[in-house]
């Protein structure tokens, strides 16, 4: 299973991360290793595009929670974009849909 992760610096302090594939126990370490260096004081906003993610398990959510913690600790923004219905459902089940900043696809 392969996870494609594309990190792009939009402007100073604003980073966009596009993820494509299933985020699972197997692939979440790769996502974590890409995200972790971004959790710095230099960045103010991290936008994660999940439109290409069709399945996510608890290890994927736990990885994203690290982003949430970074945002809280640094007064930054960690925003999840364009979650597919199945992935959003997992956030609902975990009661984390209101904890994360989630932006719909056409917003």
């Amino acid at each position: 299973m392969k996870l494609d992760i594309n990190v792009e610096n939009k402007t100073a302090g604003v980073v966009s991360v596009a993820v494509q594939g299933d985020v699972t126990l197997q692939t979440s370490p790769a996502l974590r290793s890409q995200l972790k260096p971004l959790f710095s004081q230099e960045n103010k906003q991290i936008h994660v595009d999940l439109s290409g993610v069709g399945f996510m398990d608890s290890s994927g959510i736990a990885t994203l929670v690290e982003g949430l913690q970074w945002a809280r600790n640094t007064d930054g923004r960690f925003v999840l974009h364009a979650l597919q219905a199945n992935v959003l459902d997992v956030f609902n089940l975990a009661k984390l849909d209101t904890v994360f900043e989630i932006v719909e696809a056409d917003a």
Binding site: L25, F55, I61, A62, N86, D89, V90, L93, A94
Partner: protein, 163 residues
């Protein structure tokens, strides 16, 4: 409430049984099998995703906590049956030969969300399993553990698998 996999024998309309090595890279095999059973049970896409997720999470917990990420034998059974109320049920059974697991403390507890600072994949995974499955049973055996998951098809989710 106790569920025994044998109870599903009489009315079963589908059954799948296999043994696999409990390693992370085997999870996609398990997922394919659970998808097959979910489609046979005519679950819709949302239900299928949930059931696949719950079974995945249990397998991951057996691999991580039971076998400590080392290879180990896992027997898996899935059955479709219809209960007395005419509701389709999907039964899943895992039998592992790992040291007996203490599941106390895995879940985040209650109906409240996990505090984000305390979230771990294992704890969150157990919370997801409990929120999806109607029955979650763990039995400590002399030489391992038996896990039973039962999903009852929801009345308001009827409509079949979306293709």
């Amino acid at each position: 409430m106790n569920f025994d996999m044998e109870d599903a024998e009489a009315s079963q309309v589908g059954k799948l049984k296999f043994q696999l090595n409990c390693q992370r890279d085997c999870v996609h095999i398990l997922r394919s099998m659970v998808e097959v059973m979910s489609m046979r049970a005519n679950l819709n896409e949302k239900e299928t995703n949930r059931v696949v997720l719950a079974v995945d999470e249990l397998f991951a917990n057996i691999a991580c906590h039971g076998y400590s990420d080392k290879p180990g034998k896992v027997e898996f059974e899935a059955k479709i049956s219809t209960n007395d109320a005419g509701i389709e049920e999907l039964h899943f059974m895992f039998r592992d030969y790992a040291p007996t697991v203490n599941v106390q403390g895995w879940a985040c507890g209650g109906g409240n969300p996990c505090a984000t600072e305390n979230i771990t994949p294992g704890g969150l995974g157990i919370q997801l399993i409990h929120s999806i499955m109607d029955v979650v049973q763990h039995e400590s055996l002399v030489d391992g553990n038996r896990w039973i998951l039962v999903y009852m098809r929801k009345q308001d989710e009827r409509g079949g698998h979306e293709t």
